[in-house]
Symmetry: C2
Subunit: 462 residues, 2 copies
């Protein structure tokens, strides 16, 4: 702790836990992207809102940049600290502060894991319905910072829909208490929504009041095998018009290949080019008949070649694993991740163009497609071939992302559906947001963070 | 049209329709508040986005303030032009531009009436579920500017939840295309949500893409008579735990008195101090049995003294009229309107304190209570007595609003649940938003409206 700035910090906040060991700098300085070399100044682990405010005030005095840090499961480099920043880890602020049965809200500290929120809600007979595969390690603060989506968006919407109140320490160290759990509040600009999805660039979320809801009705999970890509949206329409969908997820044979290699169980004897996992309400005979009708309509039209429906919770989990295990199964190939979205109606044309583009651009690469088709959200993972260096691989992929960005622009899509922009997508933000919008975002950042210290260089350059 | 600024405007936008007749200035210069004397410079009625942009550019050149104007049904003075502003009426931009069956969206111009949106959705077998009594005259743009709530919030949320995309002409005349109908889009600050509820202070909404949904299941309407105020939240809990509520609305005997005097039909032989209108899904026998169980539980506990359930659509409409007719029935008394909200769990204590406060403050006044209890939203209308002058009445009411603001502050509530702040609630904004929040709002306004020309003086003083 020889840095005089850190000595000043420790003096200003005597109880603040600070870490400066090389292993800690390495651990806290990176997220799941693994593309940047961590190089933070130090790690601060505050235990209270007051400590967070004191750290931010210190940062303003000494002009030290701050990287707010949750579970660091992000895929866009939003939590990377590679430039002498102070990592402000919220991992010690991980408690449930309050449950309110009448309001049906859970108030939590930002460092709590998503799964712990799920468990706390369940203890009270309710659910927090935002869900995705990183649930065990991601923090609720991080999910708010990226407006995380996941596998239930088709039914419940994004994180944004479930945040009834926020406390934010701004870049100036002021504590804002936003919306305070109210259902109706038309008293000026909704700064809560401004903060959600701002990737730590406006301040540090230090508390969140989350809405809970009733558990969903009993459901069934179905795995469908599709003969071709162009029937995908037809299958979706057939299921959506007949059923209350809880999820509708797509993946390719290449994705399945990697999950099976990672230990999952093969669902069909034969191999098919495309698959869908869908979950839908199936509490009574009417709903079950509707599910069969959807399936049969697809079979008759030749849109589906095979299918299996879960007969137990264990089998439902097995089918889900085929989709949810994809990201983990690909991790060792250091995939270049695209996370794009278009309107559902634009999906067929967008898929066709993108398929052609990628076939041309990546003939030599293993490209794995999957995604939340029911939300218009597609993940395209390009696997790094052995023998291709990191820098070379990223450069090649970056070039294709440029082309993908042009396609997105034509279809009014987004270069980041749910991962955020961070460092990874920053060069391509102009595919989705106009120069005027980015200038306005910069201006807004200056209002909440006048010295530009909150996660600088993420989302856009100041 | 002797004003040289208007001549310059007409020259710059030759096809722009302009009105300067005194009757037009009077008509377009006021909203439903009727407290301010209209005094606009002129009325511009653009027919296209380009014309709106041209008007805003002219306003910047000549430093003329602009009041964006929809149906002017607002209750907080947000659309008042009393200080030489140009009223920018969107009434000619009132078309449906697109319906997309796959995305389930309706794209409309801002001047279209809410009811016309309802009808357009219904033509496609879907619904736009935001609804309130001014549906025939309010514009969708105005409902977005105030994040309007209404009678279905308990089931469907506020306007905010149903806006998939917006086009905004900023205070600088730039056209922003925000979110473009996407379900998932984590590409930086969600400026769409910043605009919703900003009361025309950041720019002019020139297009909106609205989400539609399936029609609700068949429902029943029930009118309940309550013996006292303190059972209200118990009745709410009894109904909420058993039924899928579509609405849960409360009003007092004084409110009923005015609606009956206005021509509605008396629902019960006897008089009761408090009433509830509730609507709930009732498509099958299970739901109907649940409704009876809720009613009987309330009767057994003495929380409800009488009740009637609709047997037909006509009767349902009759019961609804008792609640929806209140505002109209009070109009001739020029009521001073409070539109406050707290969390539902804070409602009992808040109601008790507020009742005591108003009993003390307004012993001489007719005070009419009603509201959306299921959303924590209460409307308190104070009727202007004959013989009390406008200014004196507003001053007396303003003093009580100060006290009400203090109560709200203690309970973490909002001085405006759904009407907006406008001019009417501006003096009391500090009951709901901190000085830091207001400073941030001012800073954000400067980013989107550098010359402070968009609806200046509304919400806050620049």
């Amino acid at each position: 702790m020889s840095d005089p700035r850190l000595q000043a910090l420790q003096q200003a906040v005597p109880d603040l836990r600070l870490k400066t060991e090389p292993a800690d700098l390495e651990h806290y300085g990176r997220d799941w992207t693994r593309r940047w070399t961590p190089a933070p100044l130090a790690i601060a682990l505050p235990a209270s809102v007051e400590e967070v405010q004191a750290v931010v005030r210190w940062a303003n005095q000494h002009r030290v940049a701050i990287v707010p840090s949750g579970g660091r499961t992000g895929l866009s480099g939003g939590a990377v600290a590679a430039d002498g920043e102070l990592v402000l880890s919220l991992e010690r602020m991980n408690k449930v502060l309050d449950f309110n049965a009448v309001d049906r809200t859970l108030t939590v500290q930002p460092g709590i894991a998503l799964e712990a929120v799920h468990n706390a809600a369940r203890d009270h007979g309710l659910v927090y319905p935002v869900d995705f595969a990183a649930r065990g390690s991601c923090s609720i603060g991080g999910s708010i910072a990226t407006n995380a989506g996941g596998i239930r968006v088709i039914r419940y919407g994004n994180t944004r829909e479930w945040v009834a109140g926020l406390k934010l320490v701004t870049g100036s160290g002021e504590l804002l208490t936003l919306n305070r759990g109210l259902i109706k509040n038309s008293s000026g600009y909704d700064l809560r929504h401004l903060v959600i999805g701002s990737e730590g660039t406006l301040g540090v979320v230090v508390e969140a009041t989350l809405r809970l809801t009733d558990p969903p009705p009993p459901s069934n999970v179905m795995l469908l095998a599709l003969p071709s890509f162009d029937v995908l949206m037809k299958v979706f329409a057939a299921f959506r018009e007949r059923l209350q969908l809880e999820a509708f997820e797509f993946f390719t044979d290449r994705a399945l290949h990697h999950v099976l290699a990672h230990g999952a169980q093969k669902p069909f004897e034969e191999t098919h080019p495309y698959y869908v996992v869908t979950e839908f309400a199936a509490g009574d005979e009417i709903q079950e008949a509707a599910a069969m009708a959807a399936f049969e309509a697809c079979m008759e039209n030749g849109w589906v070649s095979d299918g299996v429906i879960s007969q137990s919770d264990a089998q439902a989990a097995q089918l889900w694993r085929l989709r949810e295990g994809i990201t983990e199964s690909l991790a060792r190939y250091k995939p270049y991740k695209n996370d794009v979205s278009v309107r559902i109606s634009a999906m067929p044309a967008f898929l066709e163009e993108t398929q052609a583009l990628l076939g041309q651009a990546y003939p030599q690469f293993d490209v794995v497609w999957f995604g939340h088709i029911g939300d218009g959200n597609l993940h395209i993972n390009v696997l790094q071939p052995e023998g291709t260096g990191d820098a070379e691989f990223v450069e090649q992929c970056g070039h294709v992302t440029e082309l993908l960005g042009q396609t997105l622009k034509r279809h009014g899509g987004s270069i980041s559906a749910e991962h955020g922009i961070g460092l990874v997508k920053k060069p391509y933000l102009d595919s989705t947001r106009s120069d005027e919008e980015v200038a306005i975002m910069r201006g807004i950042k200056r209002v909440l963070d006048p010295n530009g210290l909150m996660n600088p260089g993420k989302l856009f350059d100041s």
